[in-house]
């Protein structure tokens, strides 16, 4: 009787341990390369291995950055104030750590602890990545390519929101002056591309044009860009283009405005939008980041959401 009970108890403990073990292993897999994880310590023997490790490290960094978005948002806000930084060679983790230290009083003790830990880890990752890149220069390119061809949805750690990545529909169109614009070239040339959908007789859309122009200038300094898509100008409607140009000129907006055929992928996409203005944030690989922002960015709420998405995209791009 007693034996049976002891056995049952032991068995139960064993089961719990087994489950726990499963759990830990899963966790390890998810948080690959975390502090004491293997990725940090293992030395790659071949370029192949170096590439995997490299990717893993970057993944881990992105995971950290998307883990506590609100808190990071605070940090990014601080970095915006003292934007002088980010020279290419400087370690991004150290930079963040510096920012966190500077703005120490803004965080609770707990937040500060977490941030310090995370930024230190990012710093370590960055060092390791730099080391790898130095040893195996070829992985730089390969890892970039890998990023680009990553199938949608497989990369669940990157997006700041829960959803899987959605590609911005590809297009080949023209700007209002007739220059050819290709979506893949446009997106890959920018760390972040803000795409604003508007139409000429939409009052809130026209109201935000000058703000968008200012944002475009600001983004250009950070390696990003902004384009407008006027739904009236699709298919190259000449009257509509002239009217759009007129309004843009009156509002002093100089950024690129693009049109394409309405029956293409991007054309259908545009026609399916029925709330104007709507603004999308697109990353270097052409993925839509977060949810589209409905309403003019002249409103505080919309402006904040947009800034947050931009910062996240730039941060993820630098990682």
């Amino acid at each position: 009787m007693n034996m049976k009970r002891i056995f049952a108890l032991a068995f139960a403990v064993l089961m719990v341990l087994a489950l726990a073990a499963c759990g830990t292993r899963d966790n390890d897999k998810m948080a690959n390369g975390s502090g004491n994880g293997s990725a940090m310590t293992d030395e790659p023997k071949t370029a192949e291995e170096a590439l995997t490790l490299h990717t893993e490290l970057l993944e881990r960094e992105k995971a950290i950055l998307s883990e506590n978005t609100e808190l990071w948002e605070k940090v990014f806000m601080e970095t915006d104030k003292g934007m002088a930084m980010i020279e290419d060679e400087k370690n991004y983790g150290d930079f963040l750590l510096g920012t966190v230290e500077d703005a120490k009083e803004q965080f609770t003790d707990k937040e500060y602890e977490w941030l310090k830990e995370s930024t230190t880890e990012i710093s370590d990752i960055e060092n390791k990545v730099a080391e790898l890149e130095e040893k195996y220069p070829e992985i730089m390119q390969k890892s970039m390519d890998g990023d680009m061809s990553m199938p949608a949805g497989s990369d669940t750690s990157t997006p700041p929101d829960d959803g899987s990545m959605q590609k911005f529909p590809a297009f080949e169109g023209k700007d209002l002056d007739g220059n050819t614009v290709k979506s893949d070239e446009l997106f890959s040339g920018n760390a972040v591309t803000v795409v604003n959908f508007w139409f000429t007789t939409c009052n809130p859309c026209v109201g935000e044009l000058s703000d968008l122009d200012a944002l475009n200038r600001e983004l250009a300094e950070k390696g990003g860009g902004l384009i407008g898509i006027n739904s009236f100008t699709l298919d190259g409607n000449e009257t509509a283009i002239a009217e759009a140009k007129d309004v843009l000129a009156k509002k002093g907006a100089t950024y690129q405005n693009v049109y394409f055929d309405s029956d293409g992928e991007a054309g259908m996409f545009t026609m399916s939008i029925n709330a104007y203005p709507t603004t999308y944030v697109v990353d270097r690989s052409g993925n839509i980041v977060g949810d589209p922002i409905v309403g003019a960015i002249t409103e505080k709420k919309q402006a904040e959401t947009l800034q947050k998405l931009i910062d996240q995209t730039i941060a993820a791009d630098m990682a």
Binding site: T201, N203, V206, G207, V247, K250, K251, M271, S272, N274, A275, T278, D291, P292, I293, V294, G295, E299, K301, Q302, T305
Partner: protein, 302 residues
């Protein structure tokens, strides 16, 4: 003949609720859009519907005349809309405020709310407020959108933006339920307009059609045409026994025996049903039908 039409009048007013329901459905035919969270984008939206019905309602089959008027007037190209004004004059002459009583979805909405059993209050003493709607029509629908413009000559649709409760009821609420992006965009303006909607709802329970009486610019426009509308009220003086039941039954505070085509009359026909001698009826036709009785009968048969 006259008797027959009075029978039609009785039936029409008796089944008014169903006609209102039918009109609301026809005005908002694209019901699946409520689930999709998008709008109907077909050519039907070129034409206005007769009642106050937001064109940003997912199901809306046409444009709202008031919204469309402001859209045209507020654009940089035009500062007056002949298209909408012409359309409204036609409707005003053809139907007048019959539209309010029978076809307007927002009127029906207020009436349904009024069916909630509570203590009901009279609006007779608030008569001066009925002139407010003309000010709304002139200032918020026409003057401000047309002349208070930004640097590119565009004006805000003031009535839609700051006052219209129908936009929140039909547009903002269903769309924000179905569409996360729109939900995220709701701001201060929504709070303001939602409070207006709430006030109208509460007032509608206590008073009969408060929005129609005091604020509706569309009702104001049709009211101006009530006197010349082909659709009119007729009181047969030979049958009338001056009992005053019709005036007491009227929830729009009109005495049909004195002013059959009063600006406030929405042709709901409550007086027709209240009349013990069938002296009150609808009449449809040119003129006022008083000069030549023979002619009147002929026109009634149309």
């Amino acid at each position: 003949m006259g008797k027959k039409f009075s029978g039609v009048s009785q039936t029409m007013s008796r089944f008014r609720g169903w006609i209102q329901a039918g009109a609301t459905l026809l005005t908002n035919l694209h019901l699946p859009n409520f689930l999709k969270g998008g709008l109907y984008q077909g050519a039907g939206k070129t034409v206005c519907v007769p009642g106050l019905n937001c064109y940003s309602c997912p199901a809306a089959s046409g444009a709202c005349p008031i919204g469309a008027f402001q859209a045209v007037v507020g654009s940089s190209k035009f500062s007056f809309s002949y298209y909408i004004t012409g359309f409204l004059i036609l409707l005003g002459v053809l139907l007048g405020r019959f539209i309010c009583g029978f076809l307007c979805p927002f009127g029906w909405f207020q009436e349904l709310l009024h069916k909630i059993p509570t203590k009901k209050l009279s609006t007779k003493k608030l008569k001066p407020l009925t002139y407010l709607k003309y000010a709304v029509l002139l200032v918020m629908v026409f003057l401000l959108p047309a002349f208070l413009v930004n640097d590119v000559g565009m004006g805000d649709p003031f009535f839609c933006k700051y006052l219209c409760p129908q936009g929140v009821l039909e547009g903002a609420i269903p769309l924000s339920l179905a569409n996360a992006g729109i939900r995220a965009a709701l701001g201060k303006l929504f709070t303001w307009k939602f409070s207006i909607l709430l006030s109208v709802i509460v007032l509608s329970v206590l008073f009969y059609r408060p929005f129609c009486k005091w604020l509706c610019p569309l009702g104001a426009f049709y009211a101006l045409f009530n006197k010349v509308s082909l659709f009119q009220m007729k009181v047969d003086e030979n049958k009338c026994i001056s009992c005053g039941k019709c005036a007491r039954a009227c929830k729009m505070d009109v005495d049909v025996t004195k002013t059959p085509n009063h600006t406030e009359c929405i042709r709901c026909g409550m007086c027709i049903r209240a009349c013990p001698t069938n002296a009150v009826s609808f009449r449809y036709g040119f003129g006022n039908g008083k000069e030549a009785p023979k002619k009147t009968t002929m026109e009634e048969s149309k």
